[in-house]
Symmetry: C2
Subunit: 323 residues, 2 copies
């Protein structure tokens, strides 16, 4: 159907029961624009009349070793969804399942854009200024300096696609000086300094304490450290609510602000983290995402698909790699 | 002097002017018990009558390469302080200077306890339950699985010395499953599972989001990730204050709680981070610590020295290594 956008949703393999995730999709489906539809993918017996449904005989679990799983479980919901994306039967795919399997599966089935070696997960964070794009929040648990440099380009293209003309880019590190960090950070620092791009500004190292001041638009990290960064930010939000609640008069403007702030931190990667660098829109949700957060990630993916975000990102990446 | 405790304080090499750090020590010096005194170590021209002072002709700077600096700058305030500690002319030493130089210098000059390969920085964090000891927050930017196992023992000994009889110990990781993380985390997980100690309980992997629930007493990490964890927690505190301030009625019990919470997070490693595993008490302050936070780290070091914390820690470590 021309102009029709379908978003494929893997309801299996997260920490939440598939029934609950499916239930969260139904109100969303009725809220979406007429040109957008959802396709749930999961165990055959969960199929419902209320939403398009593709039955998947198998599923990849959280504790499956990723490479073994994508080789042996060809009929898992995740791989069925990725093939549908590859064949353009859907315009975006959302999963809250095994991250390693999703990254390797997407790379293998959907393929990466030219000049992209490995896809990376980008999540948006609130700061004192605008939203910060953190890349990578968990796709590549290790990253050499070349991969970190690629993340800088990918993150800059992402923020340019979000209308930031010349994004500022920083390296997540444990000190400001160029000699700080591990070999990969030091080499990435030197490379980005020696090879400036006219399309983004490299600002050097950034520490966790100043990230939230908002003076960079893109924060570059290996996926292990980036994931710790993401989850620590969430954990603090939850601690804070706990510590403050006893003293908090309910239903005040302040209580509302605090709640919104915490929800923002907590769902800092809904509407989902984009698995960037692929020839298709793949959005990853936390395995522990609540049904509501999951639905909001699906809505975000639908929005990206409808706005042609992938095409814009692809164009930006071409500009960057030409410089 | 028998029963006398002197704390040596390096006032050079931090991001704050030595004059300001020195000024913050004066009110503290007059507040300490009569048996405790301070010795400031710094540039000759800053010497004052108000406090014992050791003149150091040289200083190690933040951007000095650590190993070169400790080799060439023998008369830097930091190395003078470490030698005074080695010679027992002081009972504890505090510095807010170059972390790499302090770690390598302390290892070389003061020496490590038997069975300790590398010293590690321990910082205390607030949680929903009791204080959490995070090891390592920046002494070893890389750590193989054997070093991570040693951190588990060192962290457990630290919490036992703080009167927690059988501490719970977790590995900072990006998922709960034993296969999560890099090789070093996976191997450390397997080793700690296969070699249980009767003196602490290994609880497996812990994610940043659940750390603050307080179900572990010790969190084990390489120094790079641990440092990012520490500074991210601080950064969020600062963001939060910023976001909430507009809505906050001043001078309410709630405003006070929020401020205390943020200060706690922000100074999460004052009273300083202990450089644990050495034959002497070495306390590290953030390079960006305010004069007040610096003084509070010095007070903490004095308190540890007066309570015989090092001797207790040493005894606990012996118990642990025998198991």
């Amino acid at each position: 159907l021309s102009g029709q956008i379908a978003v494929g949703v893997d309801i299996m393999g997260s920490d939440t029961q598939p029934e609950e995730l499916l239930a969260a999709l139904l109100p969303l489906a009725s809220r979406l624009a007429p040109s957008v539809s959802l396709v749930a993918i999961g165990r055959p017996e969960l199929a419902t009349q209320a939403i398009r449904y593709v039955a998947a005989p198998d599923e990849i679990r959280m504790d499956d070793p990723p490479l073994v799983a994508i080789k042996r479980k060809k009929h898992a919901s995740m791989l069925i969804g990725l093939r549908m994306l590859k064949e353009r039967r859907i315009s975006a795919f959302v999963s809250a399942g095994n991250t390693g399997a999703l990254v390797s599966g997407a790379k293998m089935v959907v393929g990466t854009l030219p000049s992209v070696r490995r896809p990376a997960l980008i999540a948006l964070f609130p700061t004192k200024k605008g939203p910060l794009a953190v890349i990578d929040v968990g796709a590549n648990i290790e990253a050499d300096h070349k991969l970190l440099v690629q993340f800088a380009h990918l993150g800059a293209a992402y923020q340019r696609a979000r209308q930031i003309v010349k994004p500022t880019v920083g390296l997540l590190n444990i000190g400001a000086e160029p000699i700080k960090g591990k070999t990969e950070q030091r080499l990435a620092y030197a490379y980005l300094t020696d090879h400036p791009s006219p399309l983004f500004t490299f600002c050097g190292n950034v520490e966790g304490k100043s990230v939230f001041d908002g003076h960079v638009d893109v924060l570059v990290s290996d996926g292990f450290t980036g994931n710790v960064f993401l989850k620590t930010a969430e954990g603090i939000g939850s601690l804070l609510i706990d510590q403050l609640q006893a003293h908090l008069p309910p239903n005040t403007p302040f209580a509302t602000t605090l709640e919104q702030f915490t929800r923002h931190l907590h769902h800092s990667h809904s509407p989902g983290a984009l698995l960037a660098g692929l020839k298709g829109l793949v959005v990853k949700c936390h395995g522990y995402a609540s049904p509501d957060a999951f639905a909001s990630a699906v809505a975000g993916a639908a929005q990206m698909a409808a706005s042609g975000f992938l095409e814009t990102l692809e164009k930006e990446l071409k500009h960057l790699s030409r410089t």
